[in-house]
Symmetry: C2
């Protein structure tokens, strides 16, 4: 690694990857430059160049740019799409069961190997286990990622249980703050937060008496 890549940059990588594959498959592009990518994705050229430099092994050549197949490989490798990562999921409600049966995860190297919930037995042909079996299953299935889809009120308890079971990274879909020890990685996925950004901007734009009482 040239250094550490910023979180924001990391979030841009999947977009590059998707775009590059499209260029390769639909338009048979062989070489591509950061300039072109930046123009097409409406990003700053230097930003793209830095991002790509951070993941590319061979680097790009002046005048030519990058070999698109190499760049795709490097991105997939950097993003870990090749080696599978085992995960467990807790909470098989609407959102949880959607994630459980979300085929796209396989393309990102994520494999959900066990699901947990309180009362349910079978959901979408998948057996649901009680929380007390979590530690045993995590160890046997080598799962290090935990996905939390339970209601906010139960999220912390489930989180604690996961950590006790050997989970090292938590992907939290519950709209609540979780307390984790420093060595555990926490990634929050809060639909309410995203919606807040969206509707706030919308309110500003259409200026419909805005949400702001201070006005």
């Amino acid at each position: 690694m040239t250094g550490t890549i910023s979180k924001q940059a990391l979030r841009r990588l999947p977009y590059y990857l998707e775009y590059l594959k499209k260029q390769r498959d639909e338009k048979q592009v062989v070489n591509i430059s950061a300039t072109i990518v930046a123009n097409d994705l409406h990003l700053n050229e230097v930003q793209v160049r830095k991002d790509l430099a951070a993941v590319s092994v061979t680097g790009g050549k002046p005048k030519t740019g990058y070999v698109i197949t190499e760049l795709i490989t490097d991105l997939e490798c950097f993003l870990g799409y090749n080696n599978t990562k085992e995960a467990i999921i807790a909470g098989v409600g609407k959102l949880g069961s959607a994630l459980l049966s979300y085929d796209e995860f396989a393309r990102y190297g994520l494999h959900i190997v066990a699901a947990f919930d309180t009362n349910e037995e079978i959901v979408d042909n998948v057996k649901i286990f009680p929380a007390k079996k979590m530690a045993d299953l995590c160890e046997r299935l080598h799962a290090h990622i935990g996905i939390i889809c339970v209601p906010p009120s139960q999220a912390q308890a489930v989180c604690d249980e996961m950590i006790k079971s050997g989970i090292l990274a938590i992907w939290n879909f519950a709209p609540t703050h979780l307390r984790v020890p420093p060595e555990v990685i926490l990634q929050n996925e809060n639909l309410a937060a995203s919606l807040a950004v969206l509707s706030q901007n919308l309110a500003i734009e259409i200026g419909e008496g805005s949400n702001d009482r201070k006005g």
Copy 2:
């Protein structure tokens, strides 16, 4: 509005709200200070104070802090949870149908009033319409928010159709870059991107030959 609130700050607001409600309901807290909130949520005290100052109407009082009920009201008001926002959704696959039947949205003031897809007719007791009826329905149902859950290859076409139909803000769950005119608000929700951050940090932590070919 005291000014414009930053996007990151906006994303923190739902966490404050959830936390405050919990304190009010479970522990009958009446007054609360930014200091306490910051400690409990493990955030910087000044950051919390600024965030709360941006939404609070009356402000907090020294030594006492904020009246928790007022603060909750102000947050809900600021986030627009009171006034409902009509939305349409395109793409009723795994993820799309989960969002379509995700009851929690109602609490955020979001109401999905119509769903669109190519072939399906009925999903979860909801009628699915073909795209050609989008413009008409958007107008009649006063929908200004569009949720995109179609595969990446179709996302841009659907996006364009939504904009033609009068949609002003787009919530994009397709892992692809979308081109929108400047007046249209775009919020990307990319699970691949979040997963990238998570697994990258995990790879660094457990140092398992990392994903990085550069070593």
